[in-house]
Amino acid sequence: MGTPASKRQAARKPDITGIALIPLAIFFVLALVFPFLPLGDRGAFLLQIGFFTLVAGIMALSWDILARSGQVSLAHAAFYGLGAYGYALLLKTGMAWPLAMPLAALGAGVISLVLGAVTMRLSGMYFAIATLAFTEVVRTVIQNLPESVAGGANGLLVPALLGGNSRGQYLLALALLALTAGVSLAVRTGRLHHAFAAIRQGEETARVLGVSTVRYKLAAFFISSFLAALAGVLYAGKTFFISPLDTFSLANSIAPLTTSIFGGLYTTLGPILGATVLRVAEEALHNVVKNGYLVVYGLVLMLSILWLPRGLMGLFRRGKHGGDV
């Protein structure tokens, strides 16, 4: 309300209605407190679940950023694996880990530009299949490098992150998830949001309105791959052993997709929340229904997608108008 002039002034401000900033802040506070709780003798185990939940959150949120530009990719295992292998290979050269980590991510980001350029004219199913094929190509190349370089099919040993300090590893993962969330929010409140959403909702119309779709689609790839590669670095440094089959497994490409859909597409909190709920549910089910917990897990996922078409985020904003969160 107000005078036309004040309305115009208000119109300048970015539209952040619906961005669930407070729940997001609550999540990060709780996640920060978690490793300092008296977790008892199951502490190490719980910290490990927490760590992989954070990694899953980075994967899902980085996948979501790419999806916002209309590119539904199945190449996330490739970016993850490129991060893991890039990091391991850089460490082998004697590089310090704080340098190897961003460099590995940068390398994955640059390689993703090649994929982005090749798939530029594809969409939907064809795009997804091309990204899937890309993952296989990267896996095959790495598997067939000389064993002395990348370990071949047998895999590669990686020095443990932070000397194997579980709490430190957890906090590093939390910091990288915070970085990912920060990037996601910056995308959401800036030019990129308008470019990505326009491309996703009508690529030709976007071009008619002056959006340089090539540039923005590549930007989405770079950002997404960079962040996913950081998740790969965390994985490599936590498990201190990586192999092509595990690292580039299809599950690593599918999980970010289902997690984002379950949590709430095109949002910052949704994929993080999705990762948390799904990882915890998976562990809990594993304890309760030892055999066949995956069947129950799949059933829960299916039903929740049926009941919550906007994902968990739909619970936060029932009845509000459409639009990205």
Binding site: R8, R12, H194, A198, E204, A206, V208, L209, S212
Partner: protein
């Protein structure tokens, strides 16, 4: 009288396999002019518009915008060079708000625009097109007339010198069409040259300074409304069609 040529089509042709959809089309569009392109169904009007806006590349011929060769320029470059387009079938970004839809045009249509500038400019255009009250609504909730207004606001937001309109009156009731005519006049009053495709002849008569008539992919007449409707070839092209000349 005619001023600077803003858009020049020189021998544009487009062939799809064996079909010559547009053949050797030549015309000049002058600064500040409202130019109508008319013709029976299948005359090649929409193909021509797609050649102008860059959806298709011509098989032969040349296209100039403000003296700059844009024959092979991609759509986004044409937009940056000053060419705007509104579609016949409105294409809102359905999940964005009305304000965001128009902001996209303002933000990317003119490189160097910041987001706050774009949002303010978009809001101004919403006020001008009578959509300010709908700013925060999702685009998929608009009525057809509101959709068309938004489509024009979004195209104007890119800061065009020439605006291409593809049958924007289609589907509007008479009262709504009159509103749309007023909107297009006000666009021209702001110094934007307008090229529109239309088959509702009274609208063409009221709005167009000059008319280009197409039939079977070719230009068969050019001139004022009165001149072209008296042209024997035009009469022949329209005879027997249910639209007639709306006289």
């Amino acid at each position: 009288m005619p001023g600077e040529v803003v858009l020049r089509a020189d021998g544009l042709s487009k062939r799809f396999g064996g079909l010559q959809a547009v053949q050797n089309v030549t015309f000049d569009h002058y600064d500040g002019e409202i130019l109508a392109v008319i013709g029976p169904n299948g005359a090649g009007k929409t193909t021509l518009l797609n050649l102008l806006s860059g959806v298709y590349r011509p098989s032969t011929g040349r296209l100039e915008l403000l003296g700059q060769d844009i024959t092979h320029a991609p759509m986004e470059h044409r937009c940056h060079a000053g060419l705007g387009r509104a579609f016949q079938v409105v294409r809102p970004f359905p999940e964005m708000t009305v304000h965001e839809n128009v902001t996209v045009g303002a933000l990317f249509g003119q490189p160097g625009t910041t987001l706050p500038q774009a949002r303010e400019r978009a809001y101004d255009l919403l006020e001008r097109t009578g959509l300010a009250d709908q700013a925060a609504r999702a685009a998929h909730e608009l009525t057809l007339l509101q959709d068309k207004r938004m489509e024009i606001a979004r195209a104007l937001a890119t800061g065009p010198r020439v605006l291409l309109l593809d049958e924007v009156m289609a589907g509007l009731r008479p009262g709504e069409a009159a509103e749309a005519v007023e909107l297009i006049r006000s666009v021209r009053a702001d110094g934007v040259s307008v090229l529109f495709i239309e088959h509702i002849m009274p609208v063409v008569r009221d709005l167009a300074d000059r008319v280009v008539v197409m039939d079977q992919g070719q230009v068969i007449a050019q001139g004022t409304y009165r001149e072209v409707t008296a042209h024997p070839q035009v009469v022949a092209a329209y005879l027997g069609t249910e639209e007639g000349l709306g006289a």
